[in-house]
């Protein structure tokens, strides 16, 4: 149960074995994907044909490596572009929301809070569809009325960003609120008392205090944006983020390049996760 309560060795070992098996289960598919990034074969599956770096650095079709695959490189940039915007928007709105919900009392606060949680429980595809339909109607009406074109209301990166933001903002709000709740208001009052202006106190004291949560929320937002598929699928236009490109590839013409990209992605995510952990661990 807990370390101070003795258990039979059999139980202890079974338990450990179970936990080990669990982690093997978690690691297995990813490990397989990584290993096959080095398979010297045109297909990302058995049999094993030997080791090669081609799927990273190959320059000749069909053995074109990730680094030389223009569409893949471009979609990575697209994903990064989307992720950065989603992170900026989510964290900004998450921060103001945190201040609103933690610091203020107003009518319908509870109702608004539940509404704010709702995106967590709306299936991603529905979020995507509803935004698609609404923006489509809006665009049609605007275009009928003005005779101008409103391309940013049509599927494309702006909508993808908004679609992802619509639910990632909830995560950011929760992460940042949790930290703000732990903030001792008297720190801000102390700053006022020492001569800081109200905004100055928030800037000098509260925001630095929130920094680990803001950094954490940024990382979470970037990771979630990078991996989002369902919502993006419905809103994507001509510039496809990486997951969508990979999905298309999976339908037509997959090679171990997909594994290679995945491997790179894992390395990047791991690095990002570590950085955020270090940031969070720095002060708590």
């Amino acid at each position: 149960m807990i370390p101070t309560i003795r258990q039979s060795p059999l139980f202890r070992w079974t338990y450990r074995a179970y936990v080990l098996a669990f982690f093997v289960y978690l690691a297995l598919p990813l490990a397989v994907v990584c290993v096959f990034a080095f398979n010297d074969s045109l297909f990302p599956s058995l049999p094993w044909q030997g080791f090669t770096w081609d799927w990273f650095i190959g320059t000749e079709r069909p053995r074109l490596g990730v680094f030389n695959e223009r569409p893949i490189i471009r979609s990575i940039w697209t994903s990064a572009f989307v992720a950065v915007w989603v992170a900026i928007l989510s964290v900004a709105v998450g921060t103001t929301n945190a201040f609103l919900f933690v610091r203020h009392n107003f009518r319908f606060k509870n109702g608004l809070y539940v509404l704010m949680l709702l995106p967590l429980v709306i299936p991603g595809i529905i979020l995507g569809i509803s935004i698609l339909v609404a923006s489509n109607t809006l665009a049609n009406n605007l275009e009928d009325a003005t005779g101008m074109w409103f391309d940013s209301l049509r599927p494309g990166l702006p909508l993808v960003i908004l679609g992802q933001f619509s639910f990632i903002a909830t995560f950011a709000t929760l992460v940042i609120s949790a930290r703000l709740e732990k903030f001792d208001r008297s720190l801000e009052e102390a700053a006022l008392n020492l001569g800081a202006t109200p905004l100055g106190a928030v800037w000098a004291i509260t925001i630095p205090f929130l920094f680990p949560a803001i950094a954490g929320a940024t990382v979470v937002a970037i990771l979630m944006s990078f991996e989002n598929f369902n919502t993006t699928l419905m809103l994507v236009g001509s510039d496809a983020p990486l997951t969508i490109t990979m999905f298309d590839r999976l339908k037509e013409g997959s090679t171990p390049v997909l594994n290679a990209v995945s491997l790179l992605l894992m390395v990047a995510s791991a690095a990002l996760g570590l950085v955020s952990l270090l940031l969070q661990g720095r002060k708590t």
């Binding site: 009052e189 102390a190 020492l194 202006t197 630095p208």
Partner: protein, 371 residues
């Protein structure tokens, strides 16, 4: 109202939270250099009052002057007062030096000057060279001193302290009581200190205001409050007391005869106002005012006498007590054991006689409030 300018004047200050009156028409003045404490039970409005002085709450009515200047329209960051918060509110993201320099930076003092002043104040609080240390690396007592240094570096007219010792452990608290008093002496700044711990207030203060339900019940020196409480609340809240309810049977010449419901006759003094025959009264007797004697002769000369069995002996070194179950009333009486060690062999169920003086038997009109 004071001739010389006071550091702080509160005039009929009140604060209502919706219908609830947290502070009611409180008026007091603090002359320069005073250690002024506000003592009262939890929820009596101490923090509310202090936060009005600091500017974090607007008074519902009344005026508030610092050095003779009204503060009502001055925002907190412009008032010449500094505050030490209950949990100190040191900025965890800054080191000690940055914490102390914060206020100076806000005032736009030059960097080199800030460094100089920070080091100077650190020296005064006994932490020379602690500037680069992290706040988390400090002990509780050191944090306390940094919090005070952070305020003192701004040379405030008044330093406000909201139960700053509340979070410390027992031993450290004892120690810091003395240290705080010493720091105040050294800086010679006006301190307004709030606490619900009477021993803190008694030990440190020049003046103490006892607060209850939003009003000041009495303002005076520690001795005034202890020996001459003006209200039953003060008598009960400041120091330990045995408390009896009763009715005045005879009144005359400043001496009252009171009888408790169980029939015990008590000779006492009217502590405040005048009391007439038939008035319901609360009577207070301090444990150390009661004399013990193994025989009835030993207390024969006392105006108040009684006897009973020892219920328990609470040995606590110099502060030992004995709880005596009064034979006549069945009530429990708390008596301090003499520091001489004379009665240290008392045990449960030993018979004992007690007696005490009229002057130390304070009677107040019954109100039903107290600690």
């Amino acid at each position: 109202m004071a001739e010389a300018v006071n550091d702080l004047d509160c005039r009929d200050i009140s604060k209502n939270f919706a219908a609830f009156k947290a502070v009611r028409d409180v008026t007091f003045s603090v002359p320069p250099g005073t250690f002024f404490s506000i003592l009262g039970p939890s929820g009596c409005g101490k923090t509310t009052l202090l936060r009005m002085i600091a500017g974090f709450l607007e008074p519902t009515s009344g005026d508030l002057l610092i050095k003779g200047r009204s503060m009502l329209d001055v925002p907190p960051n412009k008032r010449p007062v500094s505050m030490v918060f209950q949990h100190l509110a040191l900025f965890p993201m800054m080191n000690v030096g940055a914490n102390i320099g914060f206020g100076l930076r806000r005032r736009g003092v030059a960097k080199a000057e800030i460094a100089k002043r920070v080091e100077a104040v650190l020296e005064r609080v006994g932490l020379p060279g602690a500037g680069p240390r992290g706040v988390d690396e400090l002990s509780g007592g050191q944090k306390q001193r940094v919090a005070i240094a952070r305020c003192m570096v701004l040379e405030p007219d008044v330093l406000l302290l909201d139960e700053p010792l509340g979070a410390l452990d027992l031993k450290l608290r004892e120690h810091m009581k003395i240290e705080l008093k010493q720091l105040q002496w050294e800086f010679n700044t006006t301190f307004v200190y709030i606490t619900h711990d009477q021993s803190e207030a008694l030990v440190m203060s020049d003046q103490i205001a006892v607060m209850n339900h939003g009003v000041f019940e009495q303002v005076g020196t520690a001795r005034d409050l202890y020996y001459n409480p003006e209200t039953a609340f003060v008598a009960g809240f400041v120091g330990e007391s045995n408390r009896f309810a009763g009715k005045v049977e005879e009144a005359g010449g400043g001496t009252l005869k009171v009888r408790t419901p169980s029939g015990l006759p008590l000779m006492g003094t009217a502590a405040a106002g005048s009391l007439a025959v038939g008035d319901a009264v609360d009577v207070f007797v301090r444990p150390e005012a009661v004399r013990l004697s193994p025989t009835s002769e030993g207390v024969a000369g006392q105006p108040n006498v009684s006897s009973g069995l020892v219920d328990s002996v609470l040995f606590n070194g110099a502060n030992s007590r004995v709880l005596i179950r009064d034979a006549a009333t069945g009530g429990e009486i708390d008596v301090a054991l003499p520091q001489t060690g004379e009665f240290h062999s008392l045990k449960r169920d030993d018979p004992i006689h007690i007696g005490w003086d009229t002057a130390q038997t304070l009677c107040f009109a019954a109100a039903g409030e107290g600690s």
